[in-house]
């Protein structure tokens, strides 16, 4: 274990732990105003929609809205199964299976 790498890891650990823990550690004793609570309640749907958009439409780090982007084709049945079953298990199985088929046969 090299000292320099160890320092990098410790620095990264702090740079990750602080934003994770600090808000809960410091803000829990305050009662948030209703407007702020409402705003915070929209964060989860917003973040998830952004993550879906990026992971499907820019899977390799650049925007790829093309017919050749397998992620878009796999997304369609995955979304349908998610909406109709509301089951994480069936959704994941569908997405993975469709992607495997697309990858190997197309």
């Amino acid at each position: 274990m090299r000292a320099e790498i160890l320092l990098i890891i410790v620095g990264m650990a702090l740079a990750t732990a602080i934003p994770r823990c600090l808000p809960v550690a410091l803000l829990s004793r305050f009662e948030f105003p209703e407007k702020l609570k409402e705003w915070l309640s929209y964060i989860a749907p917003a973040v998830l929609a952004a993550l879906v958009a990026v992971s499907v439409l820019a899977p390799d780090g650049t925007i790829a809205v093309t017919m050749g982007n397998r992620y878009i084709w796999a997304f369609i049945p995955t979304l349908l199964v998610a909406v109709y079953t509301r089951s994480p298990f069936y959704t994941l199985v569908t997405g993975i299976a469709v992607m495997a088929v697309l990858y190997n046969f197309w």
Partner: protein, 226 residues
């Protein structure tokens, strides 16, 4: 209490599954970038974050400095500020020390799962511990395997596992939407993050497009009356 733990672990299964290809790939890339198996595993064990670790090994491979790595990580991790703050109202019922410690396990994925669950269920320590620790073990374990096995691992793409993460985001998005306003916010966020990424491609690399889009879309949600 035991039920809560089991619920947490059960809900972690999709996250654990999604972390396998990501962790394996991270392990392989980290060793290629010059890290040892022990260093790779320690990084996953102490940092436990996908994007930040991928960026770090990219900078290490390119011969970049420690300061660059830590600054890049701070930037990428800004989203955790947002996630953690958004959970504060639900976590108030727990002792602050324990709740803060549990946030060490906060990732995009554990946040999304917890945010969906805590909309309708009270927060408990066993639930959050079950969810976060299971996910953590999958990440550390698969990083170790990837680093140890290295190039023996053939493409996990053949197995379709590269779609585990998008599929999980999709079902969590569907589950988190419970009113029309959420649909509007989600649509606005998806559009905004693509527009930002299109105009400023660098934001895709550090995920800042996701932060900008989420802040904007949540604000739109508060302003607009449906």
């Amino acid at each position: 209490m035991r039920d809560q733990l089991i619920t947490g672990i059960r809900q972690a299964v999709p996250v654990m599954l999604a972390y396998i290809p990501l962790g394996l790939a991270f392990g392989v890339l980290a060793v290629e970038a010059g890290l040892s198996v022990a260093e790779t595993t320690l990084m996953s064990a102490l940092v436990f974050t996908g994007a930040g670790q991928y960026i770090a090994i990219g900078i290490i491979a390119a011969g970049g400095s420690m300061l660059t790595i830590i600054m890049a990580n701070l930037l990428v991790n800004l989203r955790y500020f947002l996630f953690s703050t958004s959970l504060v109202p639900q976590l108030k019922v727990l002792p602050t020390g324990a709740a803060s410690a549990l946030m060490l396990g906060l990732t995009d994925e554990t946040y999304a799962v917890a945010a969906v669950h805590l909309k309708e269920n009270p927060a408990t320590i066993p639930y959050l511990a079950g969810l976060n620790v299971s996910s953590y073990l999958s990440w550390v374990g698969s990083s170790f395997l990837g680093a140890s096995l290295g190039s023996i691992i053939t493409s996990t793409e053949q197995l379709g596992l590269n779609f585990a993460l998008p599929a999980m985001y999709t079902i969590l998005l569907v589950l988190v939407i419970s009113e029309r306003k959420h649909l509007l916010v989600a649509g606005a966020a998806a559009l905004a993050c693509l527009v930002v990424a299109y105009l400023f491609p660098a934001t895709l690399g550090n995920l800042s497009n996701i932060i900008i889009a989420s802040l904007a879309a949540a604000t739109l949600g508060v302003i607009i009356r449906l």
